[in-house]
């Protein structure tokens, strides 16, 4: 029991120990200060900027940056649609996997474009190796898109008054060359040493020891998996994602994959602290995020280690915990820990099947995505948290009867309107999507793998995962239908780009305001009290808006035991 808990604890501690110096390094990179990889990488950067025709030293306004972001995403969308709808005849397809239907290609492209990776196909049969490589490309660039957008906010929060906020292309390219690419190579080497395949050969036919003939899919897995986690993407190479023995061969790789998915969300918080020279603020943010994370992960681990009471009733030995959908090499504790880590951050990779979790564990996974800012995805986690900070500053300001300020800038009607819209967009998309699906049983009833309250949970989870750009699922849902492919893709687009543009717009508007030096009446935002306030705002927004839906889904499921 205790040794089972030791693993998750170690994963958390190792991540924290690596994330603090990495945050410092990232702050230097984004501030264009020299770092040790410069000698090797400066020439590469120069080539990239030269070929692309970018002047990386030219400062841009936030509007120009968002325009650049949307334009390049449009290009990636068109490319993706072309590749997935034609992969059947394009090269690198040894298994002769077919081209995707238009609605599936639409869903696949959008969900990878928005760093979600919902995957309404199975990797073994749904994409060619060319498709996998394009997905890998999207996993690199979409992580960098989120990180660069967060950096725009960093620039906006500096002391002073600004109309331009750095160069978007510069932050984007450096996120890739200085952070994502080098760390991915290191992770790939560790994974290769542990037996993860890296080959372009197709399926192997084998006869088992007992004499059954089976086929075994392989592929360039070891290149795909590092960035899948590091970029908090989570799109699996195989259908079973990181539960697959090739995608997560042993407990050691499980630890490496866990650390690598938590790493950048952690480091981004510390990068903010170093960048703005407000390390106390960073620790306040990290503290609030960690309390939220622990509040979800501890009950889930205990519930899963406790096992399924229905199986206990049958009179068997339930000591290993709830093992349906879980792998023996990870056990119930490390699986439960992963299930919450992957949902608080927006990875969405799984090493066990969430559909088979205890009802309240499933609720915690959904709550993790409903709040969507306890660490959060690459870059976007900070942006989501920023919205809640603005709300908390405003409410606290009203409580003490002063003009609300954050980082020496007044929060006024315009910023509040944007923050409210973004905060409410998330529950709106989830609840409307789920209600529509429940109201259209002709389209959805046959796609459910479980009936009753658990069936509703499957639909609620699907839209929660889409709106949080998470990508995990209650995978029993037969989601490759036009309804699921198109409805979730629409939610994905709205819940990716608006929550990026909103906070950046708030930050841009704050940046242009006059800087007010700290006075005795200034609300301190780097204290525990303010942390508590932010936590309360997050809890209120998440709990109040989602409680009725959770009551009909997982809570009703729990009481039916």
């Amino acid at each position: 029991m205790t040794t089972e808990l030791l693993g998750p604890l170690m994963m958390f501690i190792i991540t924290l120990v690596v994330a603090v110096p990495l945050g410092k390094y990232m702050a230097k990179v984004y501030n264009n200060e020299p770092v040790f990889l410069d000698k090797l990488l400066n020439p590469i950067d120069r080539i990239i900027f030269k070929v692309s025709g970018i002047d990386s030293s030219k400062e841009q306004s936030w509007q120009q940056q968002m325009f650049a972001l949307l334009t390049i995403n449009l290009v990636w969308f068109i490319l993706g649609m072309f590749i997935f709808m034609n992969q059947g005849w394009l090269p690198l397809n040894p298994d002769h996997n077919p081209s995707q239907s238009a609605h599936l290609a639409f869903n696949t492209t959008i969900s990878f474009l928005v760093n979600c990776n919902l995957q309404h196909y199975s990797g073994e049969s749904g994409v060619s190796y060319l498709g996998q490589l394009y997905l890998m490309f999207l996993q690199f660039v979409t992580a960098a898109v989120g990180m660069a957008a967060a950096v725009t906010v960093f620039f906006a929060l500096r002391k002073g008054s600004f109309s331009t906020l750095g160069n978007y292309y510069n932050s984007f390219v450096k996120s890739i060359t200085r952070i994502l690419l080098p760390i991915s190579i290191v992770i790939a080497v560790i994974l290769l040493a542990n037996g993860m395949p890296m080959t372009f050969e197709g399926k192997n036919q084998m006869v088992s020891l007992q004499g059954d003939t089976t086929q075994i899919s392989t592929g360039p897995v070891a290149a795909f998996v590092p960035i899948k986690h590091l970029g908090t993407n989570g799109g699996g190479f195989f259908g079973a994602n990181s539960a697959h023995p090739f995608e997560n061969p042993n407990y050691m790789t499980n630890m490496v994959e866990m650390v690598s998915q938590l790493l950048i969300p952690f480091a981004m918080v510390f990068a903010l602290g170093y960048f703005l020279k407000k390390r106390k603020l960073a620790w306040m943010i990290f503290g609030v995020m960690t309390i939220g994370f622990l509040a979800l992960v501890i009950p889930t681990v205990l519930l899963e280690m406790n096992g399924n009471p229905q199986l206990l009733k049958m009179g068997i030995d339930n000591a290993l915990g709830a093992m349906e959908g879980k792998e023996v090499r990870f056990g119930s504790a490390a699986s439960a820990f992963w299930s919450i880590a992957t949902t608080v951050i927006s990875t969405g990779s799984v090493n066990s099947m969430h559909d088979s979790y205890m009802p309240l564990s499933g609720m915690n996974q959904m709550l993790a995505m409903m709040t969507n800012c306890f660490y959060g995805g690459c870059g976007v986690g900070i942006l989501n948290f920023f919205v809640f900070i603005i709300l908390a500053v405003f409410i606290s300001g009203l409580m003490v009867g002063r003009t609300p300020e954050f980082m020496g800038k007044k929060i006024e009607a315009r910023e509040m309107k944007i923050a409210m819209i973004i905060a409410l967009l998330h529950p709106f998309l989830i609840l409307v999507g789920t209600s529509l699906s429940a109201a259209l049983p002709d389209l959805t009833a046959v796609t459910l793998n479980n009936t009753g309250a658990h069936g509703l949970s499957e639909m609620l989870y699907e839209f929660t995962s889409s709106a949080a750009n998470n990508g995990s699922g209650f995978e029993g849902l037969g989601d490759n239908t036009p309804w699921w492919n198109i409805s979730t893709a629409v939610v994905l687009i709205l819940s990716r780009f608006l929550p990026i543009i909103g906070p950046v717009a708030i930050a841009g508007s704050l940046a242009s305001k006059k800087y007010i030096p700290k006075g005795s009446g200034t609300l301190k935002t780097d204290t525990g009290t303010f942390g508590l306030m932010v936590f309360a705002v997050i809890a209120l927004v998440a709990a109040l808006s989602f409680f009725p839906a959770l009551t009909l889904g997982p809570i009703a499921d729990y009481f039916s035991f």
């Binding site: 020891l209 290993l320 093992m323 023996v328």
Partner: protein, 185 residues
Amino acid sequence: MKANILIAFRLTFVVALLCVGMYTLIVLGFAKMAPNKGKGFELSQNGKTFYSNIGQSFTEDKYFYSRPSAVAYNAAGSGGSNKGPNNPEYLASVQARIDTFLAHNPEVNKSSIPVDLITASGSGLDPHISVEAAKIQIKRISAIRKIDETLLLKLIEQQNGKPLFGPDKINVLRLNIALDSISKN
């Protein structure tokens, strides 16, 4: 607008060269130095080659059973049952697994059947079972193969790597290969 689109195309091209071209080649290069040239760990026995960490179906009584699988251990696909913990259909199938197991292992007490033996894994390709799951099969194997029970227990202990982190576990394929080799002698 026009300038942005042009930059977007050119940037996409050059970043793809870096992240798909160069990166993949670097990882492929390391793969050539990795164990078994990056094709996944393999095992050979009697001229047959297996992947050591892709689970296999063992349903014959003369072998240690592997866990139930939602994909019948065919690694052309992968996945779990995705059944909810309270799904009546699912609970009936678990009950059926318990009954089948008891029918094949009449000497086993129901309360000692470990839960991993009657539940399907997440990948459907789980190569492991728990140590207890191996131990409760000793009596059956011993009777069929005419091997001493203490010898089988020793075999299981040898296969338990006792890892620093994570649960104790037995690779079913390795255990059964070892079992085959002592049967011959």
